[in-house]
Point group: C2
Protein backbone atom coordinates (compact mmCIF):
# COMPACT_ATOMS: atom_id res chain seq x y z
CA UNK A 1 0.00 0.00 0.00
CA UNK A 2 1.39 3.42 -0.81
CA UNK A 3 1.72 6.14 1.76
CA UNK A 4 -0.33 8.61 -0.24
CA UNK A 5 -3.61 8.90 -2.04
CA UNK A 6 -4.94 11.32 -4.65
CA UNK A 7 -8.27 13.04 -4.12
CA UNK A 8 -10.22 15.57 -6.18
CA UNK A 9 -10.42 19.02 -4.60
CA UNK A 10 -11.69 22.46 -5.32
CA UNK A 11 -8.84 24.90 -4.86
CA UNK A 12 -10.00 28.38 -3.90
CA UNK A 13 -7.84 31.49 -3.98
CA UNK A 14 -8.51 35.21 -4.29
CA UNK A 15 -8.13 34.77 -8.03
CA UNK A 16 -10.93 32.24 -8.28
CA UNK A 17 -11.60 28.54 -8.13
CA UNK A 18 -10.46 25.48 -9.99
CA UNK A 19 -11.15 21.78 -9.76
CA UNK A 20 -7.89 19.89 -9.32
CA UNK A 21 -6.30 17.02 -7.43
CA UNK A 22 -4.44 16.90 -4.13
CA UNK A 23 -2.21 14.36 -2.49
CA UNK A 24 -3.25 13.25 1.01
CA UNK A 25 -1.54 10.84 3.37
CA UNK A 26 -3.12 7.46 3.89
CA UNK A 27 -4.26 6.44 7.34
CA UNK A 28 -4.65 2.78 8.28
CA UNK A 29 -6.29 1.31 11.34
CA UNK A 30 -3.85 -1.43 12.38
CA UNK A 31 -4.46 -4.06 15.04
CA UNK A 32 -1.40 -5.67 16.57
CA UNK A 33 -1.78 -9.04 18.24
CA UNK A 34 0.79 -10.82 20.39
CA UNK A 35 0.29 -14.57 20.53
CA UNK A 36 -3.28 -14.11 19.32
CA UNK A 37 -4.17 -11.58 22.00
CA UNK A 38 -5.04 -8.08 20.84
CA UNK A 39 -2.32 -5.75 22.06
CA UNK A 40 -3.50 -2.48 20.52
CA UNK A 41 -5.11 -0.76 17.56
CA UNK A 42 -3.11 2.10 16.08
CA UNK A 43 -3.87 4.64 13.39
CA UNK A 44 -0.78 4.70 11.22
CA UNK A 45 0.69 5.08 7.75
CA UNK A 46 0.40 1.80 5.80
CA UNK A 47 4.11 1.05 5.41
CA UNK A 48 6.58 -1.18 7.23
CA UNK A 49 3.85 -2.66 9.39
CA UNK A 50 6.14 -5.43 10.61
CA UNK A 51 8.58 -2.82 11.91
CA UNK A 52 5.77 -0.86 13.53
CA UNK A 53 4.38 -3.94 15.30
CA UNK A 54 7.76 -5.08 16.60
CA UNK A 55 8.80 -1.55 17.61
CA UNK A 56 5.50 -0.98 19.37
CA UNK A 57 5.79 -4.24 21.32
CA UNK A 58 9.39 -3.31 22.22
CA UNK A 59 8.37 0.17 23.40
CA UNK A 60 5.64 -1.37 25.53
CA UNK A 61 8.14 -3.77 27.10
CA UNK A 62 6.39 -6.81 25.64
CA UNK A 63 9.36 -8.04 23.64
CA UNK A 64 13.06 -7.39 24.16
CA UNK A 65 14.84 -8.70 21.09
CA UNK A 66 14.58 -10.52 17.79
CA UNK A 67 15.47 -13.88 19.34
CA UNK A 68 12.11 -13.96 21.15
CA UNK A 69 10.11 -13.65 17.93
CA UNK A 70 8.82 -16.85 16.33
CA UNK A 71 6.74 -15.45 13.49
CA UNK A 72 5.29 -12.20 12.14
CA UNK A 73 2.23 -12.29 9.87
CA UNK A 74 1.21 -9.05 8.16
CA UNK A 75 -2.26 -8.79 6.62
CA UNK A 76 -2.27 -5.30 5.18
CA UNK A 77 -5.74 -5.59 3.68
CA UNK A 78 -7.35 -6.48 6.99
CA UNK A 79 -5.04 -4.16 8.92
CA UNK A 80 -3.63 -6.83 11.23
CA UNK A 81 -0.11 -7.76 12.25
CA UNK A 82 0.18 -10.95 14.27
CA UNK A 83 3.36 -11.43 16.25
CA UNK A 84 4.12 -14.76 17.85
CA UNK A 85 6.91 -15.31 20.33
CA UNK A 86 8.68 -18.56 21.13
CA UNK A 87 7.67 -18.30 24.74
CA UNK A 88 4.22 -16.90 25.50
CA UNK A 89 4.63 -14.79 28.62
CA UNK A 90 1.01 -13.69 28.32
CA UNK A 91 -0.08 -10.11 27.87
CA UNK A 92 -0.05 -8.26 31.13
CA UNK A 93 -3.20 -6.47 30.09
CA UNK A 94 -3.19 -4.01 32.93
CA UNK A 95 -0.70 -1.47 31.61
CA UNK A 96 -1.70 -1.82 27.96
CA UNK A 97 -5.40 -1.55 28.56
CA UNK A 98 -5.19 1.37 30.92
CA UNK A 99 -7.19 4.05 29.16
CA UNK A 100 -4.43 6.55 28.78
CA UNK A 101 -5.17 9.07 26.10
CA UNK A 102 -2.23 11.12 25.13
CA UNK A 103 -1.75 14.60 23.84
CA UNK A 104 -0.34 13.34 20.64
CA UNK A 105 -0.63 9.59 20.43
CA UNK A 106 -1.75 7.80 23.55
CA UNK A 107 0.20 4.89 24.89
CA UNK A 108 -1.10 2.90 27.78
CA UNK A 109 2.03 2.25 29.76
CA UNK A 110 2.27 2.70 33.50
CA UNK A 111 4.88 5.41 33.00
CA UNK A 112 2.52 7.74 31.32
CA UNK A 113 -0.22 8.16 33.82
CA UNK A 114 2.32 9.08 36.46
CA UNK A 115 4.50 10.81 33.86
CA UNK A 116 7.36 9.59 35.96
CA UNK A 117 10.65 8.05 34.98
CA UNK A 118 11.07 6.12 38.22
CA UNK A 119 10.69 2.72 36.57
CA UNK A 120 13.19 3.57 33.88
CA UNK A 121 16.92 3.00 34.29
CA UNK A 122 19.11 6.10 34.17
CA UNK A 123 21.13 6.43 30.98
CA UNK A 124 24.86 6.26 31.64
CA UNK A 125 26.21 6.39 28.08
CA UNK A 126 29.30 8.56 27.69
CA UNK A 127 28.50 9.26 24.00
CA UNK A 128 29.26 12.86 23.01
CA UNK A 129 28.46 14.89 19.91
CA UNK A 130 29.79 18.05 18.27
CA UNK A 131 27.38 20.85 17.31
CA UNK A 132 28.43 20.43 13.67
CA UNK A 133 27.57 16.75 13.83
CA UNK A 134 24.07 17.64 15.08
CA UNK A 135 23.62 20.22 12.31
CA UNK A 136 24.75 17.73 9.66
CA UNK A 137 22.45 14.97 10.94
CA UNK A 138 19.45 17.29 11.15
CA UNK A 139 20.14 18.60 7.67
CA UNK A 140 20.19 15.06 6.26
CA UNK A 141 17.08 14.24 8.30
CA UNK A 142 15.18 17.21 6.88
CA UNK A 143 16.11 16.28 3.33
CA UNK A 144 14.83 12.75 3.71
CA UNK A 145 11.38 13.73 4.94
CA UNK A 146 9.90 13.56 1.46
CA UNK A 147 6.30 12.52 2.25
CA UNK A 148 5.98 15.44 4.61
CA UNK A 149 7.00 17.75 1.84
CA UNK A 150 4.35 16.36 -0.50
CA UNK A 151 1.42 16.35 1.89
CA UNK A 152 2.28 18.34 5.00
CA UNK A 153 1.07 15.54 7.17
CA UNK A 154 3.73 13.07 8.18
CA UNK A 155 6.26 12.74 10.97
CA UNK A 156 9.76 11.36 10.59
CA UNK A 157 12.16 9.67 12.96
CA UNK A 158 15.68 8.36 12.58
CA UNK A 159 18.31 6.40 14.43
CA UNK A 160 21.82 7.76 13.89
CA UNK A 161 25.36 7.49 15.09
CA UNK A 162 27.26 10.78 15.33
CA UNK A 163 28.14 10.62 11.63
CA UNK A 164 25.04 9.53 9.71
CA UNK A 165 21.47 8.26 9.68
CA UNK A 166 21.27 4.48 10.02
CA UNK A 167 17.51 3.95 9.98
CA UNK A 168 14.81 6.39 8.86
CA UNK A 169 11.04 6.15 8.95
CA UNK A 170 7.88 8.14 8.38
CA UNK A 171 4.38 7.86 9.78
CA UNK A 172 1.36 10.05 10.39
CA UNK A 173 2.05 9.52 14.10
CA UNK A 174 5.24 10.74 15.71
CA UNK A 175 5.10 7.78 18.14
CA UNK A 176 4.71 5.32 15.28
CA UNK A 177 7.65 6.81 13.40
CA UNK A 178 9.94 6.06 16.36
CA UNK A 179 8.43 2.60 16.84
CA UNK A 180 9.10 1.83 13.16
CA UNK A 181 12.73 2.84 13.63
CA UNK A 182 13.09 0.62 16.71
CA UNK A 183 11.29 -2.27 15.00
CA UNK A 184 13.57 -2.07 11.98
CA UNK A 185 16.64 -2.00 14.24
CA UNK A 186 15.44 -5.10 16.08
CA UNK A 187 14.60 -7.06 12.93
CA UNK A 188 17.79 -6.00 11.15
CA UNK A 189 20.05 -6.53 14.19
CA UNK A 190 21.05 -2.88 14.53
CA UNK A 191 21.85 -1.85 18.10
CA UNK A 192 19.52 0.82 19.48
CA UNK A 193 21.25 1.83 22.70
CA UNK A 194 24.20 4.24 22.59
CA UNK A 195 22.63 5.78 19.46
CA UNK A 196 20.96 9.09 18.68
CA UNK A 197 17.29 9.53 17.80
CA UNK A 198 15.98 12.46 15.73
CA UNK A 199 12.26 13.21 15.58
CA UNK A 200 10.26 15.77 13.65
CA UNK A 201 7.68 15.94 16.41
CA UNK A 202 7.28 17.53 19.77
CA UNK A 203 9.02 15.81 22.69
CA UNK A 204 6.37 15.05 25.25
CA UNK A 205 6.82 12.79 28.27
CA UNK A 206 5.70 9.81 26.18
CA UNK A 207 8.29 10.33 23.46
CA UNK A 208 10.97 10.86 26.06
CA UNK A 209 10.08 7.63 27.84
CA UNK A 210 9.98 5.76 24.54
CA UNK A 211 13.53 6.89 23.77
CA UNK A 212 14.57 6.02 27.33
CA UNK A 213 13.21 2.50 26.76
CA UNK A 214 15.68 2.26 23.85
CA UNK A 215 18.46 3.59 26.14
CA UNK A 216 19.01 6.52 23.77
CA UNK A 217 21.53 9.00 25.28
CA UNK A 218 20.83 11.88 22.87
CA UNK A 219 17.36 12.78 21.63
CA UNK A 220 17.06 15.54 19.02
CA UNK A 221 13.86 17.24 17.87
CA UNK A 222 13.28 19.70 15.10
CA UNK A 223 10.37 20.88 17.24
CA UNK A 224 9.75 21.81 20.90
CA UNK A 225 9.83 19.78 24.11
CA UNK A 226 7.24 19.98 26.89
CA UNK A 227 8.12 20.73 30.52
CA UNK A 228 7.61 17.06 31.47
CA UNK A 229 9.83 15.98 28.58
CA UNK A 230 12.54 18.26 29.96
CA UNK A 231 12.03 17.09 33.55
CA UNK A 232 12.21 13.39 32.60
CA UNK A 233 15.29 13.93 30.42
CA UNK A 234 17.00 15.54 33.41
CA UNK A 235 16.00 12.69 35.73
CA UNK A 236 16.95 9.95 33.28
CA UNK A 237 20.31 11.43 32.28
CA UNK A 238 19.32 11.97 28.67
CA UNK A 239 20.58 14.84 26.52
CA UNK A 240 17.56 16.59 25.04
CA UNK A 241 18.04 18.91 22.08
CA UNK A 242 15.13 20.90 20.64
CA UNK A 243 14.54 23.33 17.78
CA UNK A 244 17.46 21.83 15.87
CA UNK A 245 17.18 23.66 12.56
CA UNK A 246 19.77 24.95 10.15
CA UNK A 247 22.80 25.86 12.22
CA UNK A 248 21.22 26.27 15.63
CA UNK A 249 19.76 24.27 18.49
CA UNK A 250 18.67 24.47 22.10
CA UNK A 251 20.21 21.97 24.51
CA UNK A 252 17.68 21.51 27.31
CA UNK A 253 19.31 18.88 29.51
CA UNK A 254 22.62 17.13 30.15
CA UNK A 255 24.47 19.55 27.88
CA UNK A 256 27.77 17.86 28.81
CA UNK A 257 27.25 15.45 25.89
CA UNK A 258 27.43 18.34 23.43
CA UNK A 259 31.13 19.08 23.22
CA UNK A 260 33.20 21.51 21.20
CA UNK A 261 36.01 19.04 20.79
CA UNK A 262 36.22 15.27 20.97
CA UNK A 263 38.70 13.51 23.15
CA UNK A 264 41.18 11.17 21.53
CA UNK B 1 -1.51 26.73 36.56
CA UNK B 2 0.00 28.56 33.63
CA UNK B 3 0.36 27.02 30.20
CA UNK B 4 4.09 27.63 30.04
CA UNK B 5 7.23 27.07 32.04
CA UNK B 6 10.72 28.56 31.86
CA UNK B 7 13.74 26.28 31.73
CA UNK B 8 17.48 26.97 31.51
CA UNK B 9 19.02 25.99 28.18
CA UNK B 10 22.28 26.14 26.34
CA UNK B 11 21.69 27.79 22.98
CA UNK B 12 24.16 26.71 20.33
CA UNK B 13 24.66 28.43 16.99
CA UNK B 14 27.50 28.69 14.53
CA UNK B 15 28.59 31.82 16.35
CA UNK B 16 28.99 29.99 19.64
CA UNK B 17 27.11 29.07 22.79
CA UNK B 18 25.31 30.91 25.52
CA UNK B 19 23.42 29.91 28.62
CA UNK B 20 19.92 31.35 28.51
CA UNK B 21 16.30 30.53 29.21
CA UNK B 22 13.57 29.05 27.04
CA UNK B 23 9.82 28.85 27.35
CA UNK B 24 8.31 25.34 27.11
CA UNK B 25 4.68 24.28 27.20
CA UNK B 26 3.45 22.54 30.32
CA UNK B 27 2.07 19.04 30.06
CA UNK B 28 -0.31 17.66 32.68
CA UNK B 29 -1.44 14.09 33.20
CA UNK B 30 -5.19 14.47 33.84
CA UNK B 31 -7.52 11.73 34.99
CA UNK B 32 -11.21 12.23 34.23
CA UNK B 33 -13.74 10.32 36.30
CA UNK B 34 -17.45 10.00 35.63
CA UNK B 35 -19.48 9.17 38.73
CA UNK B 36 -16.30 8.00 40.45
CA UNK B 37 -15.33 5.62 37.66
CA UNK B 38 -12.11 6.38 35.82
CA UNK B 39 -13.02 7.33 32.25
CA UNK B 40 -9.57 8.16 30.88
CA UNK B 41 -6.19 9.71 31.56
CA UNK B 42 -5.13 12.41 29.10
CA UNK B 43 -1.91 14.32 28.63
CA UNK B 44 -2.97 17.92 28.20
CA UNK B 45 -2.22 21.57 28.80
CA UNK B 46 -3.18 22.57 32.36
CA UNK B 47 -5.92 25.06 31.53
CA UNK B 48 -9.71 24.91 31.41
CA UNK B 49 -9.73 21.39 32.78
CA UNK B 50 -13.48 21.52 33.41
CA UNK B 51 -14.07 22.28 29.72
CA UNK B 52 -11.71 19.50 28.70
CA UNK B 53 -13.42 16.93 30.93
CA UNK B 54 -16.94 17.86 29.78
CA UNK B 55 -15.91 18.07 26.12
CA UNK B 56 -14.13 14.74 26.31
CA UNK B 57 -17.16 13.03 27.87
CA UNK B 58 -19.37 14.62 25.19
CA UNK B 59 -17.07 13.45 22.37
CA UNK B 60 -17.13 9.95 23.81
CA UNK B 61 -20.92 9.98 23.91
CA UNK B 62 -21.00 9.74 27.71
CA UNK B 63 -22.84 13.01 28.29
CA UNK B 64 -25.12 14.91 25.93
CA UNK B 65 -25.78 18.26 27.57
CA UNK B 66 -25.27 20.50 30.57
CA UNK B 67 -28.57 19.47 32.14
CA UNK B 68 -27.22 15.99 32.85
CA UNK B 69 -24.30 17.33 34.90
CA UNK B 70 -24.72 17.46 38.68
CA UNK B 71 -21.24 18.56 39.76
CA UNK B 72 -17.72 19.08 38.44
CA UNK B 73 -14.77 18.98 40.84
CA UNK B 74 -11.38 20.06 39.50
CA UNK B 75 -8.26 19.17 41.49
CA UNK B 76 -5.51 20.67 39.39
CA UNK B 77 -2.73 19.72 41.80
CA UNK B 78 -3.63 16.04 41.71
CA UNK B 79 -4.57 16.16 38.03
CA UNK B 80 -8.12 14.91 38.49
CA UNK B 81 -11.48 16.17 37.24
CA UNK B 82 -14.49 14.42 38.71
CA UNK B 83 -17.75 14.76 36.82
CA UNK B 84 -20.98 13.62 38.41
CA UNK B 85 -24.24 13.29 36.53
CA UNK B 86 -27.75 13.43 37.95
CA UNK B 87 -28.47 9.98 36.59
CA UNK B 88 -25.65 7.45 36.64
CA UNK B 89 -25.99 5.47 33.44
CA UNK B 90 -22.78 3.64 34.27
CA UNK B 91 -19.69 3.69 32.12
CA UNK B 92 -19.97 1.39 29.21
CA UNK B 93 -16.36 0.45 29.64
CA UNK B 94 -16.07 -1.50 26.43
CA UNK B 95 -15.62 1.35 23.96
CA UNK B 96 -13.59 3.55 26.28
CA UNK B 97 -11.20 0.84 27.40
CA UNK B 98 -10.61 -0.57 23.96
CA UNK B 99 -6.87 -0.11 23.53
CA UNK B 100 -6.98 2.14 20.54
CA UNK B 101 -3.79 4.06 20.09
CA UNK B 102 -4.09 6.84 17.66
CA UNK B 103 -1.74 8.56 15.32
CA UNK B 104 -2.12 11.80 17.11
CA UNK B 105 -4.08 11.35 20.29
CA UNK B 106 -5.79 8.02 20.76
CA UNK B 107 -9.42 7.88 21.61
CA UNK B 108 -11.02 4.59 22.42
CA UNK B 109 -14.37 4.84 20.69
CA UNK B 110 -15.84 2.11 18.56
CA UNK B 111 -15.69 4.41 15.54
CA UNK B 112 -11.96 4.51 15.46
CA UNK B 113 -10.98 0.92 15.16
CA UNK B 114 -13.27 0.53 12.21
CA UNK B 115 -12.54 4.09 11.09
CA UNK B 116 -16.08 4.08 9.82
CA UNK B 117 -18.79 6.65 10.07
CA UNK B 118 -21.60 4.17 9.95
CA UNK B 119 -22.74 4.85 13.52
CA UNK B 120 -22.73 8.55 12.95
CA UNK B 121 -25.71 10.47 11.62
CA UNK B 122 -25.21 12.22 8.29
CA UNK B 123 -24.97 16.00 8.57
CA UNK B 124 -27.84 17.74 6.80
CA UNK B 125 -27.13 21.36 7.69
CA UNK B 126 -27.68 23.83 4.83
CA UNK B 127 -25.12 26.28 6.26
CA UNK B 128 -22.99 27.91 3.56
CA UNK B 129 -19.89 30.07 3.70
CA UNK B 130 -18.12 32.51 1.36
CA UNK B 131 -14.40 32.09 0.64
CA UNK B 132 -13.77 35.53 2.14
CA UNK B 133 -15.53 34.49 5.33
CA UNK B 134 -13.21 31.47 5.59
CA UNK B 135 -10.14 33.65 5.00
CA UNK B 136 -11.24 36.16 7.65
CA UNK B 137 -11.97 33.44 10.23
CA UNK B 138 -8.66 31.69 9.61
CA UNK B 139 -6.81 34.98 9.84
CA UNK B 140 -8.40 35.73 13.22
CA UNK B 141 -7.72 32.15 14.30
CA UNK B 142 -4.03 32.41 13.45
CA UNK B 143 -3.68 35.66 15.34
CA UNK B 144 -5.15 34.19 18.49
CA UNK B 145 -2.80 31.25 18.67
CA UNK B 146 -0.43 33.06 20.99
CA UNK B 147 0.99 30.13 23.00
CA UNK B 148 1.98 28.43 19.80
CA UNK B 149 3.90 31.50 18.82
CA UNK B 150 5.81 31.55 22.12
CA UNK B 151 6.72 27.89 22.31
CA UNK B 152 6.01 26.18 18.99
CA UNK B 153 4.18 23.41 20.73
CA UNK B 154 0.46 23.97 21.03
CA UNK B 155 -2.63 23.27 18.95
CA UNK B 156 -5.62 25.56 18.70
CA UNK B 157 -9.27 24.99 17.93
CA UNK B 158 -12.24 27.31 17.60
CA UNK B 159 -15.99 27.25 17.17
CA UNK B 160 -17.24 29.96 14.82
CA UNK B 161 -20.25 31.16 12.97
CA UNK B 162 -19.60 32.49 9.48
CA UNK B 163 -18.70 35.91 10.87
CA UNK B 164 -16.49 35.40 13.91
CA UNK B 165 -14.88 33.10 16.46
CA UNK B 166 -17.20 32.31 19.35
CA UNK B 167 -15.03 29.97 21.42
CA UNK B 168 -11.28 29.47 21.18
CA UNK B 169 -8.96 27.06 22.96
CA UNK B 170 -5.39 25.80 23.01
CA UNK B 171 -3.85 22.54 24.12
CA UNK B 172 -0.76 20.45 23.44
CA UNK B 173 -3.16 17.90 21.92
CA UNK B 174 -5.24 18.71 18.86
CA UNK B 175 -8.00 16.40 20.17
CA UNK B 176 -8.00 18.13 23.53
CA UNK B 177 -8.22 21.57 21.92
CA UNK B 178 -11.48 20.57 20.21
CA UNK B 179 -12.80 18.90 23.36
CA UNK B 180 -12.12 22.11 25.31
CA UNK B 181 -14.11 24.06 22.73
CA UNK B 182 -17.03 21.64 22.95
CA UNK B 183 -16.86 21.57 26.76
CA UNK B 184 -16.94 25.36 26.95
CA UNK B 185 -19.91 25.45 24.58
CA UNK B 186 -21.81 22.95 26.71
CA UNK B 187 -21.09 24.69 30.02
CA UNK B 188 -21.79 28.17 28.61
CA UNK B 189 -24.93 27.10 26.69
CA UNK B 190 -23.51 27.84 23.24
CA UNK B 191 -24.95 25.64 20.48
CA UNK B 192 -22.37 23.42 18.78
CA UNK B 193 -24.29 22.06 15.81
CA UNK B 194 -24.73 24.21 12.69
CA UNK B 195 -21.40 25.87 13.54
CA UNK B 196 -17.92 25.83 12.03
CA UNK B 197 -14.84 24.32 13.67
CA UNK B 198 -11.30 25.45 12.86
CA UNK B 199 -8.32 23.38 13.96
CA UNK B 200 -4.59 23.95 13.66
CA UNK B 201 -3.97 20.21 13.44
CA UNK B 202 -4.19 17.49 10.85
CA UNK B 203 -7.65 16.10 10.14
CA UNK B 204 -7.45 12.38 10.76
CA UNK B 205 -10.44 10.05 10.99
CA UNK B 206 -10.62 10.68 14.72
CA UNK B 207 -10.84 14.44 14.41
CA UNK B 208 -13.42 14.11 11.66
CA UNK B 209 -15.57 11.82 13.81
CA UNK B 210 -15.23 14.15 16.77
CA UNK B 211 -16.56 17.04 14.69
CA UNK B 212 -19.31 14.78 13.36
CA UNK B 213 -20.31 14.02 16.96
CA UNK B 214 -20.85 17.78 17.37
CA UNK B 215 -22.86 17.85 14.10
CA UNK B 216 -20.41 20.36 12.61
CA UNK B 217 -21.22 20.98 8.91
CA UNK B 218 -17.95 22.76 8.02
CA UNK B 219 -14.56 21.71 9.37
CA UNK B 220 -11.55 23.87 8.51
CA UNK B 221 -7.91 22.99 9.07
CA UNK B 222 -4.82 25.08 8.63
CA UNK B 223 -3.09 21.76 8.02
CA UNK B 224 -3.68 18.60 5.93
CA UNK B 225 -6.37 15.91 6.04
CA UNK B 226 -5.72 12.16 5.78
CA UNK B 227 -7.42 9.94 3.20
CA UNK B 228 -9.73 8.49 5.88
CA UNK B 229 -10.62 11.98 7.03
CA UNK B 230 -11.62 12.81 3.46
CA UNK B 231 -13.56 9.57 3.01
CA UNK B 232 -15.51 10.01 6.24
CA UNK B 233 -16.30 13.65 5.45
CA UNK B 234 -17.75 12.54 2.13
CA UNK B 235 -19.83 9.80 3.76
CA UNK B 236 -21.05 12.01 6.59
CA UNK B 237 -21.95 15.00 4.43
CA UNK B 238 -19.40 17.28 6.03
CA UNK B 239 -17.55 20.06 4.19
CA UNK B 240 -13.84 19.55 4.79
CA UNK B 241 -11.46 22.44 4.09
CA UNK B 242 -7.69 22.00 4.42
CA UNK B 243 -4.58 24.13 4.07
CA UNK B 244 -6.61 27.25 4.80
CA UNK B 245 -3.89 29.88 4.96
CA UNK B 246 -3.76 33.50 3.92
CA UNK B 247 -6.11 33.82 0.96
CA UNK B 248 -6.27 30.23 -0.21
CA UNK B 249 -7.77 26.88 0.73
CA UNK B 250 -8.48 23.38 -0.55
CA UNK B 251 -12.08 22.18 -0.34
CA UNK B 252 -11.90 18.38 -0.13
CA UNK B 253 -15.54 17.38 0.23
CA UNK B 254 -19.07 18.72 -0.11
CA UNK B 255 -17.84 21.88 -1.79
CA UNK B 256 -21.46 23.00 -2.30
CA UNK B 257 -21.34 24.70 1.11
CA UNK B 258 -18.61 27.06 -0.12
CA UNK B 259 -20.52 29.57 -2.22
CA UNK B 260 -19.54 32.68 -4.11
CA UNK B 261 -22.73 34.47 -3.22
CA UNK B 262 -25.26 34.06 -0.43
CA UNK B 263 -28.94 33.71 -1.09
CA UNK B 264 -31.27 36.24 0.47
Amino acid sequence: MTEIDRVPIRQVTEQGENETEDVVVRELSLTITLNNQEAATLLCSPTNLNYLAVGFLFSEGLIENKGEIEKITVDEGKGIVQVETKEDKGLDTKPLFKPLIASGGGRGTPFHSSASGQHQAKIKSQTTILPDEVFTLVNEFQHRSHVFKATGGVHSAALCDTKSILVFSEDIGRHNAIDKVFGECILRDIAIDEHIVITSGRISSEILLKAAKGKIPILISVSAPTNLGVRLATELGMTLIGFAREKRMNVYTNAWRVVTQKRG
